[in-house]
Amino acid sequence: MPAIETKGLTKTFGESVVALQDLDLTVEHGEVYGFLGPNGAGKSTTINLLLDFIHPSDGSAEVLGFDTRSESLQIRQNIGILPEGAEPYDRLTGREHVEFAMESKDVDGDVDAILDRVGLAGDDADRKAGGYSKGMAQRLGLGMALVGDPDLLILDEPSTGLDPAGMAEMRDLIREEAADGTAVFFSSHILDEVEEVCDRVAILNEGRLVADDDLDALREEFTGECDITLDVAEVPAGSVDLGPVDGVVETAVDDHAITVTCEHPRVKADVVRHVDDRHEVTDVISEETSLESMFERYTNGDGGDEAATNGDTAGAASGEPADAADPAEVAR
């Protein structure tokens, strides 16, 4: 029984606005699942459907084995949710919010321990939430989500309003929860964040799932061009000829550094060998393909076509938008 499983989940608003189309998604227990996409891609729609805030036009979804339509209370008893952009109750203190969550879930717990975990200990806990900054409100929401040691955390844009330190704490917290066996499903349009904590990533664009795979596998299959920089002891006389190495796109020499753009990460090793045979390499700087470039290719029509020509399996992502809509094929 997966933590989340959606089957053909579809949501249309009115006659013509398709917010989510035919979503098939599986989140396993204990998995940190990043749900990525630009604003308006359907991320919040999906989360609202999982929580029964809105109702599917077609398809169905189960959370922890419970149907979202008929067993929503059981779902909400066993998960923690950080809603997007929700304001806390201005006139209640942080402590009262957490206490309310405990009462609603009918669980006992250490209010202070939870507030401490999300960095709202001491005076902040007894201040009214109306005086909280956006980041503090977000942390309070996370604290409420942690009540009752849920099996699944659903976090909608958890880093909204957080400063870099707060975002790092949030990531630590997600990791801690995951280490505890809690599945974490979180949406984000911030790539770094997803890249740093997720085991698995889904990319949503215009209501359609365009990728769903392990982060490494996605990188492996869909990295396009990537750079490797080699520091050498002496400035190479003339140009560095990497012609014999397959898959090299471009070579640039700058003082003691040779920067090579490769078609694929696999090419990097050949480049290093080739250069090392001819020059004294002092350092190798290899940049991992960022999720950003991947993301841009998936969510930007033109970029997608370009990216698709780089890898053989990526061919499915090119051409008609309808092809890109079939995530299973794209991702495998």
Partner: protein, 285 residues
Amino acid sequence: MSWMAIARKDFRDARRAKILWGATGIFLFFYAVLLLTSSQGGRSSNEAAVDAIGGLIFAGAFLLPLVIISMGYLAIAGERESGSIKYLLGLPNSRREVLLGKFVGRSALALTAVGISLVVGAGMLLFQFGTVPVEYLYYSALTCLFAVVFIALAVGLSALADTRGKAMAATIGTYVFFSFIWVVPGINPNDSVAFVVEDLLGMNATPELYQFVQNLSPVFAYGGAVDAIVFGAPEGENPGPNTLDPAASDVPFYLSDQFLVLLLVAWIVVPLAIGYLRFRSAELG
């Protein structure tokens, strides 16, 4: 039982707003104006006190709903607008429990304001007339019921609205309809029913029917019930339109005082039920 947690939270949240003290202040101001300025005028102190209570009916029936509505109209719609309803419904609270908890919490809030005012009002009666007649007890009970009616109305309508503006329009509109439109000649229900019955259907005038229709407004049901309790049976000459004699054998049940109370109870149940039916399946985007 999470509706209790919701009611407690809601009461606590709303209590800290200025509305509670604002409402209590408004009620007390009117009680002071109406009770402390009435004079004994040669009657027995009890009679004068009862008359003074009668003087509260109008203010109660028309002013109290406005204040009570302001305490309840944001109960659900406000949370939908701010998004905090996602906290409420992200926790294992059913929508029925949310509505019930809101109704109970806001009722407690309204009854706190009304209760304080009624107790101070009793003190004013004692000060002015040296006595608190038993009618004041009935008046208080009916006024509390009336306050809860408008909380139910406000919370029920709030559950139909997704924004503050819609909730305000719906509650104020309903109030204006059942208070002011209800007495505008030509379009009020009395005249409308009379037009249908007498002019269109060509039947005889049926005063009981008109009275019944008049009582369907919670404002007039409350006014009629207090009137009947305070002034009792009409004394022959010039009975008020709402003054009914429960003892008179020809008064049908649907015009009796008990039925007025029943109507008020219906005004609690029906708006909440309508609100629930819509809220139950509402999409909270």
